[in-house]
Symmetry: C2
Subunit: 348 residues, 2 copies
DNA sequence: AACCGGGTGGCAATCGGTTGCCATTAATTG
DNA sequence: CAATTAATGGCAACCGATTGCCACCCGGTT
């Protein structure tokens, strides 16, 4: 058996639709049905070894690339994962994007990047829009209310990052624990008046950090001041710095590094010595935290790892859709990295 | 997929079915044919106003979201654009991603982010893989040889960033012009021995900057030294710094800010005063360039704008596929931002 | 000789839209 | 008033895969 009797016309067809090779072309070339080609390529054990190898060889020869839309349409699997971030310019997300990207590529999946511009409404809208074009989504710092999140998680595989909602898989960076380390560090340096510089109220992590801060302070019989909320950009740092000085605190723990770096700049501008007059501790250890001036003492978060783990959890979930997850939440440890923005409390 | 007529039999299908509204549902509700619904939604002028409005109302009521794969399959348009970057953690790309993302969202398109990990081979492979899943691609700092690039551009709409290949649309940041400004700046401060700290040899921009540097120096009867190539990471900065000192130059112009920041750190480590003993000028003005120590004198590039323009060019090209482009290349101006890493040449 | 069952491969329906072509109807014109 | 034309909407054939179901082949049983 053999050659396709109309063999003469098939190479021509291949040429005509250059670059558009379909399973039908392979089927014609090998003399089997398209369905067999499909199986040979996606469920190799369903077809005889000899046939399979002939098909695979033909596919290679024709430089066949499966059409993802067609595959998605019939199978429902898109091999694409969406990553929603609230602001693509926030360096915190760079690591996350990188980690996610790495892990996805290893699994042969694509990454759809979505910027929600810090708006819950837009987040919800875009989520609905891509709902059917992806196999699952990773929500980094979602601004959505718990209930909405639960609803979405029910109709689409979801993994959140730094956000804990019952019934939704998540990877959480344990910055509360880090905040406690930071407080210990500062208290050991004789700081007694420490302020928390808060980020956006809609941020789950923000509240978690604040709670940890209060708890840690209480252990030493101290009370933490709280200022904010501030936007998470360096420019908000100026306002935050001034407010921080007004509290009379000798040290500030900030919601994130972006804010901390902004504060450092403003303090330098005002001639306030860091850490001589006031200590500043950031959170996340983003790009730049090690070379700003002075280098920032901060909670080092395993951001890239968080991205990788989030993807792993999601893909794992996709493979065992029926079953209930063994682990719903992964907590990643942080540690305090002491640099030069923190030091002994000034003598009063 | 041969689903039994009763529909949802497996739990998975049940979940997947919910919220799954198709044009057929709308057609049934409004009593028209599916094709009319399709037209009402994607080519509104093809259907009567009354019918159209009834259909649109029904679509809204049912919370209809078109299935992108199905649309893509039949129409060939995916409304998705791929952005290929050589390294998602390089801050230079953050701005690019942001700009691209903004402009794409405005046009209702999605962004597929692809990290080529600085490998031409991987770049080519991934490009082939997504070829049919996107309407076009933006290649940021492509490592591909010219010829390959031309071939790809012939079968897929392409816009390159910072890479000029005949016949391929591109947006180029005019850093060569900026390099000249930098040289003028340094020469005016009495620097005579200036070195160029080169980046990856496969980078088109790298060569362009070096040429500009030589030209600018020649104008003053000077000759530029060249060291490198170095990797574009901060860690490469250490090696680069040492090499820079060995040249005896009083100033260095670096391929990019990442490298420059690495150099600054190494110089500080070795106790070399910047700009007292040596001046350093970077390129790009990435996140961090303004708050490193000392703040970096650098060529400010309109990175976000580059991302936006690249997307505009691509979408524009997509809309007028037949016609020849009016403008093949857009050149974006840069300017020198003088901070504290450059100063008068030391007296010898 | 009739039967059984695993391994293979083909048929055809299906995923959800898009679009060329045609029929119908309404509007315009000589 | 008949005839030409434009606007509108339906039919049905795709787009390129996936997959449930069934037929067939073949060796091994009873």
């Amino acid at each position: 058996m053999c050659m396709n009797p109309e063999g003469a016309s098939s190479p021509r067809a291949a040429v005509r639709r250059e670059g558009r090779v379909t399973i039908n072309d392979i089927a014609a070339l090998t003399g089997v049905a398209a369905s067999t080609v499909s199986r040979a390529l996606s469920r190799p054990d369903r077809v005889n070894r000899v046939t399979r190898e002939r098909i695979q060889a033909a596919a290679r020869e024709l430089n066949y690339v499966p059409n993802t839309q067609a595959r998605a349409l019939s199978s429902g699997r898109t091999e694409t994962v969406a990553l929603l971030v609230s602001d693509a310019t926030n360096p915190f997300y760079f690591g996350l994007i990188r980690g996610a990207q790495q892990q996805l590529r290893a699994a042969g999946h694509a990454l759809l990047l979505i910027d929600t511009e810090d708006s819950a409404e837009l987040e919800n809208h875009l989520l609905h829009k891509v709902r059917r074009s992806v196999d699952g989504v990773i929500l980094a710092a979602s601004r959505l209310p718990e209930q909405t999140l639960s609803v979405i998680a029910a109709e689409l595989p979801v993994v959140t990052v730094n956000r804990n909602v019952p019934g939704v898989r998540s990877v959480v960076i344990d910055s509360p624990d880090g905040v406690m380390q930071a407080v210990e560090h500062l208290v050991s340096l004789d700081h007694r008046a420490i302020a928390y510089v808060a980020g956006p109220p809609s941020s789950w992590a923000n509240e978690a950090r604040w709670r940890a801060m209060r708890t840690a302070m209480a252990r030493h019989g101290l009370t933490a001041a709280r200022i904010g909320p501030f936007g998470v950009s360096r420019s908000s740092g100026s306002v935050a710095a001034d407010a921080l000085l007004n509290t009379g605190a000798t040290a500030g723990v900030t919601f994130n590094d972006l804010l901390a770096i902004g504060i450092l700049r403003r303090l330098a501008e005002r001639g306030v010595d860091v850490p001589g007059e006031i200590s500043v501790v950031g959170c996340d250890d983003i790009f730049g935290a090690d070379f700003c001036s002075p280098p920032l003492t901060t909670l080092t978060a395993p951001i890239e790892q968080a991205g990788r783990v989030a993807v792993s959890m999601l893909l794992d979930h996709l493979e065992h859709l029926g079953e209930t997850a063994s682990r719903q939440t992964v907590l990643l440890p942080t540690h305090l990295t002491i640099r030069q923005s923190s030091g002994p409390a000034p003598r009063r």
